[in-house]
């Protein structure tokens, strides 16, 4: 809510600012204005990156297919242990939180998602998912481009946020850097200094980049510290970094900071050896954290405004390797959760009889998933983000 004093303060500052300050300072100044009450109901996207290559076949288990058990003699998960979704497919036994979401009609499972000519390098494949550009090396990420086109104009330094230390390529755009928040209590400036609060454009782009980030850091840290004080969740979150990250997301949503996109990464899912316990723990961590977050959002009345999407850079090879693990593969499932999701299984059952040198063939292009989210959830034009049209799916 804007009161008269704020309005005057902002008005004066902007009038002065506009006359001689560089663009990015004007943007920051505008960000100090509180969101109008009606603006609060915008769609929120939470992206969960399962780093390392998640073993899709042991996440959503095709338990009616004997071939699955033939190629997975030590790692195969029995039908009796899996959490049944349909007659053909069940979730990993440690994923009861997500089974509950499925039953509540809040979860869509997108099967066999990938892209043509799959790359089995972690880095290249992750780069492909981040940039949404399988055929060429692209410098910006899909969310970075979305930010440039649709969020930058909101003039809110916290419009999109990475929860974690390292900012992923998906968030890199041509404009200002999207903030990364690791430990929220340290996201503050201990002693004021001119370098963080003042800036003027130079002839040098690296220096401008640093100044812009500095000014955004200062202002967004003030906003965040306010947010941390104002909300206490009624939901108990499990242990672990992902749960802590999602709890912070909930605090930020509750505090009305205007953040549209949250990005979290966790892993590593790179299970080359002795996979079973490691994989079970990772999936349990994700499933329980997501369950608690959904609960929190429901209590807050924000679940219908929230969409969670998971992805990994690739699935793993269909056959297990000689070390009770799995090597790098191709297509894999994604999950989409939220109050407004059209629940169900999209993309069918993995076809283990029709492999490409030991790997699954993809059925859904991941860019169709991005396009669906951009068009049907974020209400924007996917071509602005992906450069071309992709058929949308019906999960939202």
């Amino acid at each position: 809510m804007t009161n008269r004093r704020d309005f005057l303060k902002n008005g004066i500052f902007l009038a002065t600012a506009a006359s001689f300050l560089p663009n990015f300072l004007i943007r920051t100044a505008l960000a100090e204005q509180k969101l109008p009450a009606g603006e609060r109901r915008f769609p929120i996207l939470v992206v969960l990156q399962m780093t390392g290559g998640n073993d899709g076949l042991n996440t959503v288990i095709p338990y009616r297919d004997d071939r699955y058990y033939q190629v997975r003699p030590t790692l195969g998960i029995q039908r009796s242990a899996a959490l049944s979704l349909t007659d053909d497919l069940g979730l990993h036994p440690s994923m009861s939180g997500m089974k509950d979401l499925f039953q509540a009609g809040n979860l869509a499972v997108l099967q066999n998602v990938g892209y043509p000519n799959p790359n089995r390098s972690h880095f290249r494949s992750m780069e492909i998912w981040h940039t949404a550009a399988p055929e060429k090396i692209e410098r910006t990420g899909w969310i970075g481009r979305y930010y440039d086109r649709y969020l930058q104009s909101l003039k809110n330094p916290l419009a999109a946020v990475n929860i974690g230390q390292e900012s992923p390529l998906s968030l890199v755009g041509n404009g200002s850097a999207i903030p990364s928040i690791n430990n929220p209590s340290q996201y503050r400036l201990v002693e004021g200094n001119a370098g963080m609060m003042e800036a003027s454009a130079t002839s040098q782009s690296t220096l401008d980049f640093i100044q812009e980030t500095a000014v955004n850091a200062y202002h967004s840290s003030l906003d965040l510290q306010k947010a941390l004080k104002s909300y206490q969740s009624g939901v108990t979150y499990p242990q672990g970094a992902l749960a802590a990250g999602l709890k912070l997301v909930a605090q930020m949503i509750a505090s009305d900071l205007g953040t549209r996109i949250y990005y979290l990464s966790f892993g590593s899912f790179d299970t080359h050896r002795n996979q079973d316990n490691q994989h079970a723990n990772l999936l349990r961590g994700m499933s329980e954290a997501l369950g608690a977050f959904a609960q929190d959002m429901k209590q807050m009345g924000m679940w219908d405004n929230t969409l969670v999407m998971t992805f990994s850079e690739f699935g793993r090879r269909v056959a297990e390797n000689g070390s009770r693990g799995t090597d790098h593969g191709t297509a894999a499932p994604m999950f989409v959760a939220g109050g407004k999701v059209r629940p169900g299984i999209y993309g069918g059952i993995p076809d283990l009889g029709n492999l490409d040198s030991g790997d699954l063939k993809f059925q859904i292009d991941f860019r169709s998933v991005y396009a669906t989210i951009v068009r049907n959830w974020l209400q924007s034009d996917p071509r602005q983000v992906l450069g071309q049209d992709f058929p949308t799916l019906r999960f939202i």
């Binding site: 690296t206 070390s323 790098h328």
Partner: protein
Amino acid sequence: MRRNYLFFLLISQFLTVSLLAAPAETGRRSALAESLKPYKPSAGEPWNYERAAHLLRRAGFGGDYAQVQQFVRLGPEKAVDRLVAPDAEALASFEQQVADLKADLGEREDIKAWWIYRMYYSPAPLQEKLALFWHNHFATSMRKVRAPELMIQQNELFRKFALGNFQRLVLEVSKDPAMIQWLDNSDNLKGKPNENYARELMELFTIGIGHYTEQDIKEAARAFTGWQMDFTGFYFNPQQHDFDQKTFMGQTGPFNGGDIIRIIMQQPSAPEFISRKLFQLFAYDNPDQATVKELASILVANRYEVRPVVEKILRSRAFFSEKSMQAQIKSPVEFVVGTAKALDLELDARGAKMLARAAAQMGQSLFEPPSVKGWDGGRAWINTATLLNRQNFTQQLTQNRARQLVELGKRLNISGKERDQALDLYAQAILQRPLADKDRASLMPYMEKIDANLDPGAWRELTYQILSLPQYQLN
């Protein structure tokens, strides 16, 4: 060692001379890169405090006022000499000193501090800089390897081969216990190959994506079967090695890992790949093709010895150009070690631990790169959170070391100078770049609070303000 160095120096000079003498014969393919011609001080690009400090920062971790002044006096050629061939006696006694420290290393945090200490005090800073480069290149993480002693062993390998033979280094790394554990090569068995090492060897360590096929990876993985480790270190397990024929990059034979590396090094993409990375380490990103080709030809002519290439870069016009001097952002390790150096602080084990922890918070935890790709570097170091961390670090450091800062002021003879001169001198010592007019104006109020006794509180505040200038983030 010194004899080797002279030998390579001769070779590289011979090369330069012969190529210069016969441009027609070498033809367009190996046309000499303008960028790699030797740097000669001129009115436009003078040899001064700024350039000497640039050399110390890029080919090491920076220097204090006295060290930079010493480099200014040496001139560019002798300054580079000193970096590529450090004083052997000083190095030996330094090694003795850190050997005593090493006895106490058992904890993960300890080995980080041990390396920070080395970066800070080593009389061979270029060696440490390249050790960090190789750590980032063959990025191995203690999060998976667990045993700190294996990480140290690998680190010593990077130090030993810092300016040594790249082909040998790749072979040694393939047998390095930490690497074998990191990329699962003990699980790479006859009949059940694990491709992890073979893939990264080509993609990240030697030639880069686009220069090999998926089939090459499968064949190379077979060649590395049976390369294992146990508590004694590397061992070759003939039971698990696939002795059959492999076809790799068009050649067929009963290849082992060493053969694979030999064949990789015959590919034209191999010397270009590593030369480009070395140039980017010291100068700037995206060098032109002529620069890369010339460095690659030097590498090949020297049978993959790294030193001549590094020397060529450090003595080049490109390295001392304006473009290069504005091109880099300090990595967290460069930031914390360089700041302590610029402020001329005493560093003990506790201080080294504190610096290591600070760098980790800014996104660079030594011995724990985020993935086998290493740290992305450049602008990726800077986001709002890491920038807040950097500012809070300098705040804390100046607060803890206020007394030592006053000593630095006294050594610079600040009290005997006019305010504006004193400010310029102190800012130059720390910032190692010329002070912009607007920054001088914003610092002057802090300078004006300082009396002849250099009151630690006011002096600290001025120091913090200088360290928080955006220019200070540039390397």
